[in-house]
């Protein structure tokens, strides 16, 4: 029975890249602001996965600390961003990003 190697780090990075790309496709193709926001969260998760995998491979806890701070920023971003969406919905009656052009000169 051949010995199985450990899961290589590049596979974790590959999964992270796939998740990041799916999130990026969503951000570019979808027009609903809340869906775009969720795709951003998915992109953050892909990056977090790369941090954790690299930290584990290097026997370091700094990756975990980085992910902790990314989660903090994501929580603050969710609170402020969703408040902005609610405000825009009150103003325009829609959160379609094609119709949000308040700053057009």
């Amino acid at each position: 029975m051949p010995t199985l190697p450990q899961v290589p780090l590049s596979l974790y990075f590959g999964l992270s890249a796939i998740l990041f790309t799916i999130g990026a496709v969503g951000v570019i193709t979808r027009r609903n602001a809340i869906i775009i926001f969720m795709c951003l969260e998915l992109m953050l998760n892909g990056v977090n996965l790369a941090f954790i995998a690299a930290g584990n491979a290097l026997n370091s806890l700094d990756g975990v600390i980085f992910v902790f701070f990314v989660m903090t920023v994501a929580a603050a971003e969710a609170a402020v961003g969703l408040a902005i969406f609610v405000m825009i919905f009150r103003l325009k009656g829609s959160v379609n990003v094609d119709q949000i052009n308040l700053m057009k000169g």
Binding site: F20, I22, I28, G55, V64, A83
Partner: protein
């Protein structure tokens, strides 16, 4: 040997679930379905975190992402009912195809970077055996409240700004 096989199994299973759930999240028209599929993706990423010896982050992922943030997003989806916007997202236009093509180029760039990348860093002191000796949360706490004390305090100010910003933005203005 069995542990290695199990980690392969966990990686392949949870990774496939994460990929399928995130593809479904991007393609569903109903925002509520998208949010629920994103929760599935978050859970499977949390399972991968556990297999990477990051138990604290796995629990925080479930509590913060799958619990708090997705609850907030679902709440806002219910608050501003988005059913009227569903028909706008269905059609596939030329711009969407070009955009997907550009992101596929981005993906190939990332894959090229990953394939040409070799981890050459100095190994840190926190081996899995050492960390499991006194617990992952305790190890994270020692690093967080020691070396990263100042960024931790800055993060608390950031969260405070987030709370104040949300309250100020969602307050109805007096005309």
């Amino acid at each position: 040997m069995i542990a290695t096989a199990f980690s392969w199994l966990v990686f392949i299973g949870a990774g496939l679930v994460a990929i399928v759930a995130s593809i479904l999240m991007v393609t569903r028209r109903n925002p509520v379905h998208s949010a629920l599929w994103l929760i599935v993706a978050f859970f499977s990423i949390a399972i991968i975190y556990i297999s990477l010896n990051a138990q604290f982050i796995a629990v925080a992922q479930v509590i913060v992402y799958a619990g708090a943030i997705m609850m907030l997003i679902l709440f806002v989806i219910m608050l501003i009912h988005l059913e009227s916007e569903q028909e706008l997202t269905g059609k596939i236009t030329g711009a969407k195809i070009i955009a997907s093509f550009i992101t596929i180029i981005l993906f190939l760039e990332i894959v090229a970077a990953v394939l040409s990348f070799r981890v050459t860093g100095i190994k840190g002191p926190f081996t899995p055996e050492l960390v499991n000796g006194f617990g992952n949360v305790r190890a994270v706490g020692m690093v967080l409240y020691g070396k990263y004390m100042f960024p931790f305090e800055i993060a608390s100010i950031l969260l405070l700004i987030g709370i104040v910003g949300a309250v100020v933005l969602s307050k109805r203005r007096k005309e």
